[in-house]
């Protein structure tokens, strides 16, 4: 009897939950949050105050690079992989003598990537080379060195931006920010902006005349010779200095 009663109760409970379970299984578009009915699908990790959400960065790591549509191009483009290094013998124009070609083929048979800088130097150490073969190897070495240099050095900005910013910026008080740019000793005239304000040119420098209102921060952006320089300006409410 007891078992029968238990079975009946269980069946009733099960029947009650069936529609809910069925609803879940159809995975209807829900709008739920971590705290209730608005699930957050975190996009980036916050911040400081972070009481509510825990965000994740839009970092294009291996896992989500397709989602963000970005990949780390540094790993793919800038440094040639050894696997891509093919036989110098076929890559460069004039061919060496048949004797040197045979030597190279034999060495390359031991594995890919043999004919790098070290291999070329080893070849140069041979005493049985003709002058034209020596010249061929030296040319290859020069090309090898120059390609290594260009691939490993990333272009760094050679434009120097010089900023003259008041030590203290206070809301309601106008300030004058002067920006100059120099490229290998040559003075450039940068174009700058700060919010809606555009710079004016005075004596080979860009000048931003700005009166901050009810703000804590602003960013000034300058451009010269294709390079961009930015400065973060902290604004204080009273005359007590900046953060």
């Amino acid at each position: 009897m007891k078992h029968l009663l238990k079975g009946g109760l269980f069946a009733l409970c099960f029947l009650q939950t069936l529609p809910v379970m069925a609803g879940n299984s159809t995975s209807r578009a829900s709008f739920k949050s971590s705290s209730g009915y608005a699930a957050r699908s975190p996009a980036y990790r916050s911040s400081s105050t972070g009481s509510t959400p825990v965000y994740k960065s839009f970092n294009p790591s291996a896992g989500n690079s397709t989602a963000t549509g970005r990949t780390d191009s540094r790993s793919s483009g800038l440094r040639p992989s050894p696997a891509v290094q093919q036989s110098l013998q076929s890559r460069y124009g004039p061919q060496p003598s048949p004797q040197l070609q045979t030597i190279i083929r034999e060495k390359e048979a031991s594995g890919p990537g043999w004919l790098g800088t070290a291999g070329l130097i080893w070849l140069l150490s041979r005493h049985d080379l003709s002058s034209s073969d020596r010249e061929w190897i030296n040319n290859r070495l020069r090309e090898e060195n120059s390609s290594e240099n260009t691939s490993s050095v990333i272009e760094q900005s050679d434009v120097s931006f010089q900023w003259s910013v008041p030590a203290s910026i206070i809301n309601g008080q106008s300030v004058k920010i002067v920006i100059a740019a120099v490229h290998h000793g040559k003075v450039l005239l940068p174009d700058c902006e700060l919010g809606d304000i555009k710079s004016v040119h005075e004596n080979n420098a860009a000048v931003l005349n700005w009166t901050p209102e009810h703000t804590v921060s602003a960013v000034a952006t300058c451009r010269a010779e294709g390079w961009v320089d930015q400065r973060l300006l902290a604004v204080s409410q009273t005359n007590v200095g900046t953060r």
Binding site: L5, V20, G36, Y37, Y44, S47, S57, T221, R231
Partner: protein
């Protein structure tokens, strides 16, 4: 005799369950009235979430609400959320762009909403309360999904978020500059990624192309909070 008792019990249980459902419906009606009367739809949305969680807890062995009631809560929640967006609530906009995928119903409006988010963030004061919207706008500009990618503006927003105590902004900036192959600036922001800042969000390796002297110079520059970008490699040693 025994069968009769069982039938009685089952009928009693059915009545109890039906009456519980009626109570839940009445409770929902009261919650809905209160939510719709709230002049701040974002606050109403937050309150509704808490009340819905209480009424229909998610983590229970047996679901306590019918699917119909759950749908009612969801629909009300979404309606309040949409109302908050219509009223240009910065909290709602920030929340929306924190999501990897917005609700389907809002997808067509996302470009316009993204532009609104960026505009509101741009005019924010930059105080602590602005940190989230600044960071959200920066990510939108950096990601380039709903508006055209603009790394320069993204960097400006991230930097302001950092000044507003967003701890993750330095890692985001380090990654941003690293992707642009601006290794000096990437190292500068990596140095500033301290404390709660999750450095794993920014890839290592930027310093490979820099000399020891340059790295030391960047360490020195990083102490100046106003510096966002490192330019002028040639003149580093003069400074």
């Amino acid at each position: 005799m025994v069968t009769k008792k069982v039938i009685k019990m089952l009928m009693l249980l059915s009545v109890m369950l039906l009456s519980a459902c009626d109570n839940q419906k009445a409770e929902f009606d009261a919650i809905r009235t209160k939510a719709l009367q709230n002049p701040d739809p974002w606050q109403a949305w937050q309150q509704l979430n808490a009340e819905a969680e209480k009424a229909c807890p998610e983590k229970q062995a047996f679901p306590s609400c019918s699917e119909i009631l759950k749908t009612d809560y969801r629909n009300l929640s979404f309606s309040l959320y949409r109302k908050a967006l219509k009223q240009h609530s910065s909290a709602a906009l920030t929340d929306l762009f924190m999501r990897d995928d917005p609700p389907d119903e809002l997808k067509s409006q996302m470009p316009a909403l993204a532009a609104e988010l960026i505009s509101i963030a741009g005019y924010s004061s930059g105080d602590r309360a602005s940190a989230k919207i600044l960071a959200a706008a920066a990510h939108v500009l950096d990601r380039g999904k709903w508006v055209q990618q603009d790394s320069v503006r993204a960097a400006a927003y991230f930097a302001r978020a950092w000044l507003a105590y967003d701890t993750q902004a330095p890692a985001s900036l380090s990654r941003l500059y690293s992707e642009q192959h601006d290794d000096a600036s990437a190292v500068l922001w990596r140095l500033r990624c301290t404390g709660d800042c999750d450095i794993s969000q920014a890839p290592y390796g930027e310093s490979d192309s820099l000399s020891p002297r340059q790295i030391l110079r960047i360490q020195s520059l990083a102490k100046d909070r106003s510096i966002i970008t490192v330019n002028g490699q040639a003149s580093w040693e003069e400074k």
